[in-house]
Symmetry: D2
């Protein structure tokens, strides 16, 4: 028996759950987890994630998808997809190791939810560590004047080979052209503070402002820098006793935790994006 | 359109969601929220909470229940119940006001989820405050040698008049006989620490032990004192700088938060009890 | 024996603690709590809070202050002040009761740290509740075209009578002129989100953006709206299952908790302001 | 300039801070951080941690200690010690890697606060990982019938070579004899739940009981198993949606965080033990 997932979003109206669950039941599937959400039963949008077991899902997938489209999806104007098996990602990183190592460790402990195809960095610093942990490492340097070349190289390495990308403190901005070409979701992590500090030296500015909470946000990358749909956020309390370096240490801990959670949820198809917003069926 | 809830638990097997959602759809109901959980798709137990809108639910409730029993529940050996409208509770309290006042305030702000029929106390201390807030107050003193009389008085005041009881720091132990006679759920709040301190002066002992977290637990009352199914728990960090009185202050804040959440979730039929465990569809 | 506090800030250099503690010891004081912080032992700034007991502090205060200035403060170029007794505040509020009632309750439970002289509102909605709780209520309406009149009225009611003001969801902006004239600290509470939402309907925008954390910030009011030194912040996790009204409910809970903590810390002279930053010796 | 720490505990009475800070000032030291706590100014106990910079501290340490004993400590019946430089620890581990790898990683990032002399395990499972990270690994098997031999071997490897031991999920109980012979602090980590589950399969029992919080406690090891002074505790919220394996995953994350914090605080001499309690000057 394989486990598979069905993800659906459509305009809300009566009968959706009955239609989907009857279809799956009649197809021989056993629903093992289900979650749904409606933004508004009157004129809102409906989101559903179902996890089910079905004998030889992969073998009969094409047939099942055709039947679902015809008998259910069309009637409710659904956006939908089935998913099965484990996703594969590549990790892009610059010099800071904390997020990367956390992801690799969890992968080795079978708790990441995804497979890691390899690590790509614009620096060589982390090559030895990554290789020692059994993950392929590729160095793709980025020269300021020749960013396009670097992105072309990334595309040639990645396109068609991974289900999503993780930016684990990758300090380069990916161009809209790259995002369009790569065609898979890209997950990023960045610090977050209240009040918000955009630009250079955020931890120093947080220190100078005396913030009482340090945070991090994991989000999907869109053309609007750091403004894509939020997958996960967390914070930790800090006191005035912590200097800039200690705030950065706290920040690293939150970043790795938040990014790992986001990657796991994405890998398990628990995140549905709707415009600038996500629904996370954790 | 009235909103109603359906709560179901049964042995897990394929077809449950399809059967329930088809029944509701065919009955003209619009599902607006749904959550389910299976302890194990193979031989485990299945739990479901559905919230739906249905024209004139109350008028056709008897008929609907009979049909559900016949067409769905019997087939899957379900324990089930429909619920609609707002529940009514009574609050039992001794001398400490913090949980009680929080409940009353939230009731006045329409965020408690339940109606408060009245407050009963074994002391007169809080009579003026409660009355000023527009809630009936009844004094039912408890003499150590005559606890049965007090419980008989409580029963005569409460039986058949409330949907559940809240012990908001009520410092009397209710007898198994009372619990059986009252026949409705009773929600209690108590402090909780790691390591666990049973008995007198828990905050002093927590202080002497140097605990770093202060907590509270809301649970359903069973014959086993403080051992009933847990509805909600929370903690707050404390430092050695806090004395016993300040730990108690922190404890009061957590108690009122945790109890209010538990009451709201219970009121909205979000809690399903299974043996010594709860499933909270928050 | 009265308890008193000494607050000091000055350029850091060796000998400060020795000088202060020797002075207090020779004056017959018993230090019962002490905390200090240096932004940098080399060329940084030093902050200290000492709590001490001293026989007849109030009677000999003038003499003690003169001696401290002469023998200690001058040598180290200190900004300093002694404080004793309980501070008195006034609360300004508009229509929302949650922060106000939390403050009044804690005041009645002797856990606010300050005395409440009265409540002033630009609406009459909360008059009955406040009066029933034994606190004087004054209605000072604010007409858009005649804000100066309202502020003049506030000044005539408050000037010289309170040690600080608390804006417990007071939906009027106080003018720089008012802040200068009132001459005492003003503590405000506002929601806070990541990313930051300035302007109208912040909870709706947070909902539309799918934020995972709801927060609140208590700060001193300066001429820069919502940009004054932060005293306290906190957040709570929220899920996509919460609608706008429920996010607001969560927000109210955080606001009242954060504001009450900020008021208590300010009342106990635990907050030292340095430019746009605070040091909180909690 | 070297940084050093002074830790003091003694019966509380006036003049302690003045005596200590004057001594340090006159010795040419510059206090860069200081924290103190009194359990009760009248008849309680006083605790102090001072961090200071002093030219050639190590060279003049013996002389300084003698002077401090004579001029300050004796007068106030102090327990005291100076500390300087970095501590060295050894880590004992069984099969689970999560706490161990977190400690090693922080050590490599210079954020552990201590040096790691080596790792000892009663199993060979983690040998390759530890060695690859540049840390010596020693296998000391423990046969049930010959525990004394294993402890003797541990003593021969460790005695006199480390400042403290860390049990990073070491699933063997150390005998009172070993603890006495090793003569250095031993830090342990264990899960913690409310209600408390002693014995086998704690996560399964927590799951069956429906706990809402999963926690971990780091403590000094004493002869009373898991009852030594608590250094740090933390918890994370969990829902009924998590199975036993997922509760264990959450538990691992808290364990590694809590243990790393405890090790750092101990390494920086921030923890003062008083009977069964700790004061943590974080």
């Amino acid at each position: 028996m394989s486990a598979a997932r069905l993800l659906v979003s459509c305009p809300d109206r009566p009968g959706i759950v009955a239609a989907i669950s009857s279809f799956l039941f009649e197809s021989g599937a056993n629903i093992i987890d289900s979650a749904q959400h409606s933004t508004d039963p009157e004129g809102g949008r409906f989101f559903l994630r179902m996890e089910f077991q079905l004998d030889e899902f992969d073998a009969q997938r094409t047939q099942l998808e055709a039947a679902f489209e015809q008998r259910v999806a069309r009637r409710f104007a659904m956006e939908w997809r089935f998913a099965s098996g484990q996703k594969t990602c590549a990790i892009l990183v610059s010099r800071q190791a904390h997020c990367l190592l956390d992801l690799i460790w969890r992968w080795r402990s079978n708790e990441l939810g995804a497979d890691i195809a390899g690590v790509i960095s614009n620096h060589r610093d982390l090559a030895a560590d990554v290789t020692a942990l059994g993950v392929p490492f590729t160095h793709v340097p980025v020269e300021t004047a020749r960013k396009d070349d670097a992105e072309a190289k990334l595309l040639s390495l990645l396109a068609g080979r991974v289900d999503f990308l993780v930016l684990a403190r990758y300090m380069q901005i990916l161009s809209p052209h790259f995002l369009e070409q790569i065609g898979v979701p890209v997950i990023n992590i960045h610090h977050s503070f209240l009040p918000a500090f955009v630009g250079a030296n955020p931890y120093r500015r947080a220190y100078e402002r005396g913030v009482k909470l340090i945070g991090a946000t994991a989000h999907y990358v869109t053309e609007e820098l750091d403004e894509g749909p939020i997958i996960e956020q967390d914070v930790e309390r800090v006191s005035h006793r912590l200097g800039v370096a200690e705030l950065e240490r706290v920040g690293r801990d939150i970043e790795r935790t938040v990014l790992s959670r986001a990657v796991r949820w994405h890998s398990e198809d628990r995140v549905i994006v709707d415009g600038r917003k996500t629904f996370v069926f954790d």
